[in-house]
Amino acid sequence: MASSVRENEIGLERGDYAGRPTTLCKGCGHNSISNQIISVAYDMSIDPTRVIKLSGIGCSSKSPAYFMSRSHGFNALHGRMPAVATGATTVNKDLIAIGVSGDGDTGSIGLGQFKHMVRRNIPVVYIVENNGVYALTKGQFSATADQGQQLKYAGVNELPPIDICLEAIAAEASFVARSFAGDPGQVRELLKAALSHRGTAVIDIISPCVTFNNHETSTKSYPWGKQHQEVLQDITYIPYADPIMVDYSAGAVIVVEMHDRSHLWLQKIEASRHDPTNKIASLNLLEESREKNLFPTGLIYVDENRPAFNEVSHLVDEPLVSLPDEKLRPPREALDQVIAKLS
């Protein structure tokens, strides 16, 4: 990680990417993720004034206040961040959108919007800080809670969890990853890749809630995550590399060229031969993991060919918000013509 006084390519220090002091609990997974976002934005020399930070409601959704204070932030409504992201990125395609949501925000109240955002391929890095509970409302089961789990007030959870990644792929997602707040290095590389992606980049990060759901038996806890994480690939993000032949089949490395011409080197790990460019393989991986209660992390699925929503919206190249009045209001003659036709 870069030391905090060095300036990056655009002359900013790491501190320029800081947010306000966190008000989350000490040890909360969400804080760790905020820190990785800060690091990555600094490392990639991202202009913070181009970034918008979006969220819903929840402990997780508070996070955007705790990173990158030089970026506009929007703490929207519970479960409704996807729509807000759609509106903002459609009228200003130059913005870099980072969304932070929770498992309740995305999997419960927001499931519909989440899926339709993915289906549209809205250009946003969409992070789900998944802790298996509604933390901010004090620990009820979320839609990703483990079946059979027992919590204080809620009793036993009788329902199967939904899988955010599987949901994303079912909705034709173009970038789906899973990670673990306890593995900051992987979170960082995935964030870099996501920021280079042209559509919705869904990253489901198991982010333990130390206050309400960090029991060893919870699949959303640090201990469980540490014990069970199976890293699918060693990921190396290579910015602006020379074009390299992409080779999916042979050898131990898969190289994915991102739309912005950066590359991902995915060094296969022996146990897993997962090919993240194969959708059916990805579905199978996820369904198998669900059935066997496994915790594979890394890049699950990627498709750099699917255009982002604003690429298929037939809009002018300039961001709509930058258009001068003359381009927005048709001239007097245009109205005259309309009127002529109507009389």
Partner: protein, 609 residues
């Protein structure tokens, strides 16, 4: 069918009477049979003859096979309110023909297919028309016969009430813009029916039209299209919506106008995004996201959709994000009558959302205002950084109206108080929610503004002037007071009411939106009964000083509106509790536009009570 007995004959008086340019036609058909084309052709040809017309489509909430009615009123006096009774019936629906005939006044006229058995009424003129035969004899390909069959009644009517054939031809050309073949084929049928009618129908016909000169330079359009046009000229950049009757055609029209007027001439690419959302929660969310980012954004919906937008409405109000909702009102509560008109969402629109939220509401009454409020709503939203609701309704939105031509916006686009990077450089400081100008409206920056001071954090939670989260009572109170100041600023910046006073008026009448035509006509009717009133037509909420003064001045103000609970009367009562006892609701809702007759009855009942 009905049991009513009509035994009287047509009186000889009636036989001789001729009523020119002052009656109403009703065309009863089955929906999904293409009668809408025939009806608008009729309407437009009358309009082209210089006669003031008004058409109302009374259609069911389904796609095919149910009864539908279209009324065409002609009025030499220029009245464009619906009338309670139609004198001329085109009965093309076998299911309702009995009832339809029953609604005719004595002396009325009924055209119907010759092969249907109907109970005759002696006191009206009944003209069977051999629809099938005429179609067969006309040179129409058999597969298109159903499609053009409605032209038979157009031709018959033309002969009967003396519509000029050339205007029908022109109306057809207009309708089938370009597609001359289609226009001609339809015209063939019109001519055949016309000729047959001239030959076979008796000359006894009390209802006739004659060319006038009262529609010159006027246009004819539906309010949804007018609103869409207004938005286009208001520089709208994002429209997110979810289909719902009767707002759908607003977005349909808007999409077409975007293609016509908002494409970059070089690239053919659009300067306005139209996004069909997955539901209304998403639609308003997209609008809020866009408005926050500096877009000019709107959605169009109806009651159920507006209900779903409640939570976001509160966010727009409290986080101060520009947004525009067009609510083309239909009859509620709940799903209600999706294809009937009402003004039933006024109260919920004004206070949409929990907590103490309240919103600017615009109330267009005619095409011109639909157009004007189309662009002005976007300006007001940007100026006040808040939600603006435009309350149209099915009557204005989906029916064809004649109108003066639209006025090109006489003000430049208003983007409100936005600090650019340059401003920030100059000022050296920025507090998102500070009332710099004392009008309650603070300055904002747009995401993407290239300056280290530009960023702030938007939230629906309580915040201080710097947009920092705060639960301090004093921050809450200060912010609320500023929001209220802002709302008060709006009172004098929203479209002012139109006030029309007359000598000797004892009472006041307040109305808004599509009840207006009935007020205009009702006023003349009442004048004949020696009842005179001053008239205030509301065009926006919150109301300003003019409204207060108007109410103050009158011992009684009757509020006419198309809902059950007298919602605007209630709003005015809370705005002016000191005069509340003078504000008398004459609300009425049955799904149809208000008529002058009903207005007169309602008013006289109260006055004489």
């Amino acid at each position: 069918m009905s049991d009513t007995q009509h035994t009287e004959k047509i009186s000889s008086e009636d036989e001789q009477r001729t009523i020119i340019n002052d009656f109403q036609i009703v065309i009863a058909t089955v929906n999904g049979t293409g009668s809408q084309t025939a009806n608008t052709i009729l309407l437009r040809s009358l309009f082209r003859m210089g006669i003031p017309v008004c058409g109302k489509n009374i259609f069911p909430s389904n796609i095919q096979g149910l009864p539908t009615w279209f009324t065409v009123r002609v009025s030499k006096d220029g009245y464009i309110a619906r009338k309670e009774t139609s004198e001329v019936l085109v009965a093309m629906n076998q299911v309702t023909i009995g009832e339809d005939i029953d609604t005719l006044p004595a002396g009325g006229v009924c055209i119907y297919p010759a092969d249907w058995k109907v109970t005759e009424r002696a006191d009206i003129h009944m003209y069977p028309v051999p629809v099938k035969e005429l179609l067969k004899s006309a040179d129409v390909p058999s597969n298109l016969r159903d499609y053009v069959s409605n032209m038979v009644y157009v031709g018959t009517l033309a002969a009967l009430i003396e519509i000029e054939l050339v205007e029908i031809e022109e109306a057809l050309k207009f309708h089938f813009s370009g597609k001359t073949k289609a226009a001609e084929m339809n015209m063939t049928v019109v001519r055949a029916a016309y000729d047959w009618a001239m030959d076979h129908l008796p000359a006894i016909n009390p209802y006739r039209v004659e060319r006038l000169d009262l529609t010159k330079n006027m246009i004819m359009l539906d309010g949804n299209s007018a609103g869409a046009l207004g938005a286009i000229f208001g520089g709208v950049t994002l429209v997110a919506w979810y289909p719902i009757t009767p707002s759908t055609t607003l977005v349909d029209a808007l999409r077409e106008y975007v293609q016509e007027m908002r494409l970059d001439p070089e690239t053919g690419k659009s300067t306005c995004a139209v996004v069909q959302a997955e539901d209304e929660l998403a639609a308003i969310g997209m609008v809020i996201g866009a408005g926050w980012a500096g877009g000019r954004a709107m959605t169009a919906t109806s009651g159920p959709g507006m209900s779903l937008m409640s939570e976001f409405a509160g966010l727009s109000y409290f986080a101060e994000i520009p947004a525009v909702i067009w609510n083309v009102q239909r009859v509620g509560p709940s799903t209600g009558m999706p294809t009937r008109t009402s003004q039933g969402d006024v109260l919920s629109a004004y206070f949409l959302g929990h907590g103490d939220s309240k919103h600017i509401v615009l109330l267009p009454n005619n095409l011109n205002e639909a157009f004007e409020f189309g662009w002005r709503a976007l300006d007001l939203a940007d100026r006040f950084q808040t939600l603006v609701l435009v309350l149209s309704d099915l009557d204005l939105g989906m029916n064809p109206w004649m109108s003066e031509p639209f006025k090109y916006p006489d003000e430049p686009i208003d983007r409100g108080k936005v600090f650019t990077a340059k401003d920030l450089e100059r000022l050296g400081t920025f507090s998102r929610y500070k009332d710099v100008d004392g009008d309650g409206i603070a300055y904002r920056t747009l995401p993407g503004t290239k300056h280290p001071l530009a960023a702030y954090f938007t939230r629906g939670t309580s915040h201080d002037e710097h947009a920092i989260y705060s639960e301090r009572p004093e921050h809450w109170v200060a912010n609320t007071e500023r929001l209220n100041r802002k709302f008060d600023t709006a009172r004098s910046k929203v479209p002012a009411p139109v006030i029309n006073e007359v000598d000797g008026a004892q009472i006041g009448v307040i109305a808004y939106g599509t009840t207006h035509p009935a007020v205009v006509e009702g006023r003349d009717l009442l004048r004949r009964k020696a009842v005179k009133f001053d008239y205030l037509r509301l065009r926006a909420l919150p109301p300003g000083e003019d409204v207060r003064k108007f109410i103050e001045k009158h011992p009684r103000c009757y509020v006419f509106e198309n809902n059950s609970d007298g919602q605007m009367a209630k709003i005015l009562q809370t705005e002016y509790p000191e005069y509340a006892s003078k504000i008398v609701s004459l609300a009425h809702l049955d799904g149809l536009p208000l008529t002058a007759e009903r207005l007169v009855t309602l008013l006289l009942q109260k006055e004489n009570a």
